[in-house]
């Protein structure tokens, strides 16, 4: 049935695009709504291909994989994945700095007072050390250790979560096999024409290069930066956030692995951007994200090649983007998921998370008929909130810096941040309190990690810390630090754990 009568039931879903977003969406919709009678077709074009980057993820992806019934060991083998406990930021607050934003908390709250408040009071004492000395996942990252968290909430080994780093070119095919098993039909071909219904402006069918037409009720635009339906056809508009996040290009190249297999992604700041290093089982992914206003493509490429830890495995690839989001992510009967919906640079590995969030919200609000303006408005409101809160968190990394060694950093340091971020920074600077929200990706421990890591050091601290005798606090800090160290020491070596897991899966 084509998208005609507003009262007709929505049953035929057409996903356009077979990258990470397209196949995740197809897998998610078919597993959850397939049993309810939904039919999903995916169109992808071999001649166009996928963006081929996007290898670092956040812990939420485990929930997605679990929901659609992915076996973890099989997934790790199929996508050459490694485990990830956080992101290391090098040279961000100042040149020479390094901190890790872990997937876990710092220390333990005591008497209702957050741990970092105690640490703050004594942070000047050498024996107290860095805040990250009190984070199990950070210590595990530094020591190259990994094992899944303990189920026992009393154990310090339960105080973290984990994500994956995988080969982007292997993940979509892996999702494809899952989706096809759940009945998703795949069509290969390039969409060359889009038919819109006159009055409603809804998409009714797509025409492929070979002349085939594909009808549908609801279309999911996963065509990446093309935004084939959402922008080229429906002109949903774009909120451009480059005023705050001016990086607009990336150059990417994989290289041979060298050194130990680290359970974390590294983001190293440079003169006009930053570079990523993502360790996989069979290679290392690298890329340099930069602002073309401040750096030429050639310089960006040579900075990247100079710091590779092994021989490059292909020619460097250039990518261009504008940071921001589609003004209406769901417009008429088109929902944009993935890069077609917007792009926030990959500093905190948030894009795949946003794909996942787009899928879950769509499932929650899945329309019955085309008479779904309310569902659409709620979807857009929710996704806007997600994007905006992530945006603020990303800006923090650039704006809260002491770096003044390049025009780029001077621009970032002195720009006017969004009010929402300015207020958060002021609150933290005063006494280390974090302005909380409930609906957003990055919660209090993440803000603390990055604020402290970026040298936003609170002037004071929670006054209740003074209620406990100094020697008692210092003793507690020393005990906790030693406990974290020894617990991290008891964890397995990341490479050894991974190899045992994947060889078991291969044998099966």
């Amino acid at each position: 049935m084509a998208a005609g009568d507003a009262a007709e039931k929505i049953n035929d879903i057409v996903v356009v695009g077979g990258g990470t977003a397209g196949w995740m969406t197809a897998a998610g919709l078919s597993s959850m709504l397939g049993p309810a009678g939904l039919k999903v077709t995916l169109i992808e074009s071999d001649s166009i291909g996928v963006v081929g980057v996007g290898e670092a993820t956040l812990p939420h992806i485990k929930l997605f994989n679990d929901t659609i019934g992915v076996d973890e060991a099989e997934f790790m083998s199929a996508t050459s994945a490694t485990f990830k406990l956080g992101i290391e930021f090098v040279n961000w607050g100042r040149k020479g700095d390094s901190y890790i934003h872990p997937f876990g908390e710092f220390g333990l709250a005591n008497e209702g007072v957050a741990f970092h408040q105690y640490w703050r009071k004594f942070a000047d004492l050498q024996e107290v050390g860095q805040l990250e000395d009190y984070s199990l996942p950070v210590i595990a990252c530094r020591e190259g250790r990994f094992q899944p968290p303990s189920d026992d909430p009393r154990s310090v080994l339960s105080t973290y979560r984990y994500a994956y780093q995988f080969d982007a070119l292997q993940y979509a095919p892996f999702m494809r096999s899952h989706a096809e098993k759940r009945g998703v039909a795949r069509l290969e071909g390039k969409v060359v024409d889009v038919a819109l219904e006159g009055e409603s402006g809804r998409v009714t069918s797509l025409t492929l290069e070979d002349g085939r037409t594909v009808d549908g009720d609801l279309f999911i635009d996963c065509t990446g930066f093309f935004g084939l339906l959402i922008e080229q056809q429906l002109q949903a508009g774009y909120d451009d956030w480059s005023e705050w996040l001016p990086a607009d290009r990336a150059v990417a190249v994989p290289c041979e692995s060298a050194g130990p297999l680290r359970p974390y992604t590294r983001a190293t700041a440079h003169g006009a951007g930053w570079s990523w290093r993502i360790p996989l089982q069979h290679r290392t992914g690298n890329g340099h994200v930069y602002s073309s206003q401040f750096l030429s493509d050639e310089e960006a490429c040579s900075t990247l090649l100079d710091e590779l830890e092994g021989n490059p495995l292909s020619e460097p690839r250039q990518l261009r983007f504008v940071t921001g989001k589609r003004r209406r992510l769901w417009d008429r009967n088109v929902v944009a998921i993935g890069l077609s919906g917007g792009f926030l640079e990959p500093l905190e590995s948030t894009s795949i998370y946003l794909i996942q969030e787009g899928i879950s919200k769509l499932l929650e609000l899945f329309p019955d008929t085309h008479d779904c303006a309310v569902e659409r408005a709620e979807y857009n409101r929710w996704m806007d909130l997600q994007f905006e809160r992530i945006r603020d968190f990303l800006i923090l990394h650039y704006h809260a810096t002491e770096r003044d060694d390049s025009p780029f950093w001077n621009h970032m340091r002195t720009m006017t941040p969004p009010d929402s971020l300015r207020e958060r920074m002021e609150l933290f600077r005063a006494h280390g309190h974090v302005s909380a929200y409930e609906h957003g990706l990055f919660l209090v421990p993440s803000w603390i990690a990055v604020l402290i890591g970026q040298r936003v050091f609170p002037r004071g601290y929670d006054s209740r810390v003074d209620g406990i005798a100094d020697d008692q606090v210092l003793k507690h800090l020393a005990g906790l630090k030693a406990h974290m160290q020894s617990a991290a020491g008891s964890m397995q070596d990341h490479a050894a754990y991974l190899s045992a897991m994947t060889s078991l899966s291969d044998a099966a």
Partner: protein, 344 residues
Amino acid sequence: MSSERILVRGSALPVALVGAILARRWSGKGKELVLAPEREGANASTVIARPDHKNVHAELGLAIESLAQGAEAVPVLAVATTCGTGQVSLPFSPYGMARGGTDFHHFWRRAIASGEQPDLAEFSLALRLDRAGGRLPLSTLAQLPLEFGLRMDRLRYIEVLSKRATSLGAFIADDAGTDADLIVDCRVGSNRSGWIEDRLLIADENDIPGLEWQICVNAARRFLGLAAKLSDSETERREYSRLARAESARIRDFRALLRDPEPRETEHASLSRKIDLFEACGRIPSEDFEVFGQPEWLAALLARGIWPKRYDRLADSIPDKQLRSWLSSMQRQIGEITDRSLRA
């Protein structure tokens, strides 16, 4: 280190509750907490503590059994209040059982769409038990998958809390004057709240059972979450007031849904969203810092005659026959548990 003095004054229950929570977490060297409660009216009767009581009382070291003795605490599974169309019972626990991540009421709505007429309240163990009116022993309740609040004798609860507050270091004074670094004014019943200079105002209407209790708890927690030197708390004051405003907006929406003659005509986007989305597809969107739970919103929406036009598509994932047998077996089980619990 110079000392700091907080004076908590106003209605007796809020003063005792806020006082006890502050005494537990804002005390020690250099901190003085003075409570100046007004005399509670002679007709003071009961107070409802919402399900959050478990956390609050655990923090204060008040076991539920001791509250049963000391404050005549009895469990409350739902509260009744007035609404534009009469009375409504607001349950603290979800209706029925969610399935595959989809809330029960979508399955119920699907049954209605296929011509059946089940009463949603029949699938709420909380409402069934509440309606049956028996007194459930705490030991029985502990075995059931239910959230519950407590109904307590107001004067005795005040006594328990005041005792706890003083044992944690607070002072009770009849005439404490106004000499303090911070005055916490508890005026539940008026409608200003926020932290302005040296006044922290805890206020709202007390017109929904349990609200007064929750407002005090949230205010004390909010203050503690922003604790800093009182003479240097300007940023924290702003943040406190922002959060208090958000809370007031959530309460305002709920109250308007219950009591406004035409809640659909509300000028508040957050309430329109709840009404519109629920009506469109049965989902109830949540905002940051909700005060009332989803089951309470659901009860209030239905009581105001706001019905979902359709159910969630995810509820279509089981065949009709399976749906019918699942619903009837759930209804039967709930009936059995209700009977057994009342006999226990």
